[in-house]
């Protein structure tokens, strides 16, 4: 959990400056405090805008996914902290092409309050908007209380699918409906082996001993389902898959995209070891894996651990998932 940084209080601003100077053809810093990242080109007139936002420290989430076929703008908070209402409002202004703005982000109390308030502020500026929340972490609440779940890596699918729907010039109602379907289609669970360090705090987000892991842990270190000795890769994979399958109704005619995601430090080598089990369990169910994603798509800086997301696709979602997309972290098509 050692970090390479300057002043911890400049971590986010320096990161954003670097991001935009490395990829000026993709990203543009906007907003009064520079805490909004928008696409380098202004939004097309008549296109529904898609904004997201949340704490820093999760690259490519959230900021990284600003790009063609993905987000239009993003508000960025300090590491693991909500952006301010103003930053969210600025992001919405950037994403306003006159056809309304969808707010698409994770279900965290502070983010929800701020984005709701930003929405009200934009309403006063006659910008129509809607909200779709990601609440895909099955370990954070029961299926009956799905709306209380945390939003985790399922965001990747929601960004991709909603982004494609907006790119096809659907109206705000349509984009919102599709984004909600994408959000509902996602089921995720994570397991962490080490914490990470929030620069401003300067110490690990939680403590865990050298031979322990925590199943079901949230991406900020929120408590999980159990903590105990590190299990073998195949056991970990099977346990996570059990949780996800129990939450879904997959059949032999289902089509599912799977995301085997590193929380940061866990290398792709280990993700591929886990993927074997995902593949064979899906074969058991008879469900077809579509466009599997293996890599670092939603992280917590240098945290060691993995998450799985299963996204059940209907033909509409599948087509949009496969549509072209382009950002510094992910190219499709």
């Amino acid at each position: 959990m050692k970090k390479i940084l300057n002043d911890p209080y400049q971590y986010v601003d320096e990161m954003l400056a670097g991001l935009c100077s490395a990829h000026p053809e993709l990203y543009r810093q906007a907003g009064e405090a520079g805490r909004v990242i928008a696409r380098s080109e202004k939004i097309k007139n008549g296109k529904v805008g898609i904004v997201s936002g949340g704490g820093s420290g999760h690259l490519p989430i959230f900021t990284g996914y600003v790009g063609q076929g993905l987000l239009d703008a993003c508000a960025i908070g300090d590491v693991f902290a909500s952006p301010s209402v103003d930053q969210m409002a600025d992001a919405m202004r950037e994403a306003n092409g006159g056809a309304g703005v969808l707010r698409l982000y994770g279900n965290y109390g502070g983010d929800v309050m701020n984005f709701d308030m930003a929405g009200e502020m934009l309403e006063m500026e006659d910008v129509e908007s809607s909200t779709v929340l990601l609440a895909d972490d099955v370990a954070s609440a029961s299926k009956q209380e799905r709306e209380k779940r945390r939003g985790v890596a399922g965001m990747v699918y929601a960004f991709k699918i909603a982004g494609a729907a907006a790119e096809e010039m659907n109206n705000l109602n349509e984009v919102t409906r599709i984004a909600q379907n994408a959000a509902d289609a996602c089921h995720s669970v994570g397991a962490a082996l080490t914490p990470c360090t929030v620069p401003q705090a300067g110490k690990p987000t939680f403590e865990i001993s050298d031979d322990e892991m925590e199943m079901g842990m949230g991406i900020h270190g929120e408590p999980g389902v159990w903590r105990g000795k590190i299990k073998k890769a195949d056991e970990i994979a099977n346990e996570m898959i059990d949780m996800l399958l129990a939450d879904m109704d997959l059949t032999s005619s289902s089509r599912v995209s799977v995301l085997v995601n590193s929380l940061g430090a866990t290398p792709p080598e280990e993700l591929y070891i886990l993927y074997r089990i995902v593949k064979s369990r899906m074969e058991e169910v008879g469900a077809e894996i579509v466009m599997p994603l293996v890599g670092r798509y939603a992280t917590s800086m240098e945290m060691t651990g993995v998450s799985f997301t299963f996204c059940e696709l209907d033909s509409e979602l599948e087509k949009l998932l496969k549509a072209p997309a382009d950002c510094a972290f992910w190219k499709v098509g």
């Binding site: 929800v112 309050m113 308030m117 009200e120």
Partner: protein, 206 residues
């Protein structure tokens, strides 16, 4: 103190109040950060300092329309930080602002009802309930205490007392919302930092 000595609140009294609160917040930042740090991310002091600095920025240009003045304050407060408390306070201010838009004064008799409005807006914004051990509980108590009061200094004293006894009453209870919820057990015996920040603001006015 011009805010509540008399029987009404004007933009002038808002300006004075903002100045006093801003000053006390600068002095109390560490204390509030520490209280928040026991259960949350320890940023409540920073939130208050930054928020009131932003209000001070707009203070001199606040309009006489007391509703619009409060609206400017609410907007200023949301600028600085992404913390829950800032947004909740701004939400409360905004709801009062909407009610008072176009008017130049708030009567002491209106305070209780306006606090209820703020409370409703904040409940909706934060999806919390009374009893969850948050700032909402001291606002509810304040509204109750302000009822049937018509004098500036007595209403302030009544609110102050109500807030303090609410804090005392809740100390042994569990937090049910926000970051503190994760450490729900740990919250027993500790004061809710949002309640403490609310009392600090009152303190500045007393």
């Amino acid at each position: 103190m011009r805010l509540l000595e008399s029987r009404m609140i004007t933009t002038d009294s808002i300006k004075t109040a903002a100045t006093k609160i801003a000053q006390l917040m600068e002095e109390s930042a560490d204390e509030l950060n520490a209280a928040d740090g026991l259960l949350g991310d320890g940023d409540l002091g920073i939130t208050m300092v930054r928020g009131f600095r932003e209000i001070i920025e707009v203070r001199d240009s606040l309009p006489d329309d007391v509703g619009m003045a409060l609206f400017q304050c609410a907007k200023a407060f949301t600028k600085s930080s992404g913390s829950s408390y800032g947004t909740l306070l701004a939400t409360g201010l905004m709801s009062v602002a909407k009610k008072k838009k176009g008017q130049q004064e708030i009567q002491v008799e209106e305070i209780s009802a306006l606090l209820d409005d703020a409370l409703d807006a904040m409940k909706q914004r934060g999806k919390a309930e009374l009893g969850d051990k948050t700032v909402l509980d001291v606002i509810a108590a304040s509204s109750q205490a302000a009822k049937d009061q018509s004098d500036g200094s007595s209403v302030l004293k009544a609110i102050n007392d109500a807030v303090t006894s609410t804090i005392d009453e809740f100390r042994s209870r569990q937090s049910k919302i926000g970051r503190a919820r994760i450490f729900s057990e740990k919250s027993i015996g500790l004061d809710d930092p949002g309640m403490l920040a609310f009392r600090k603001m009152l303190e500045a006015l007393s």
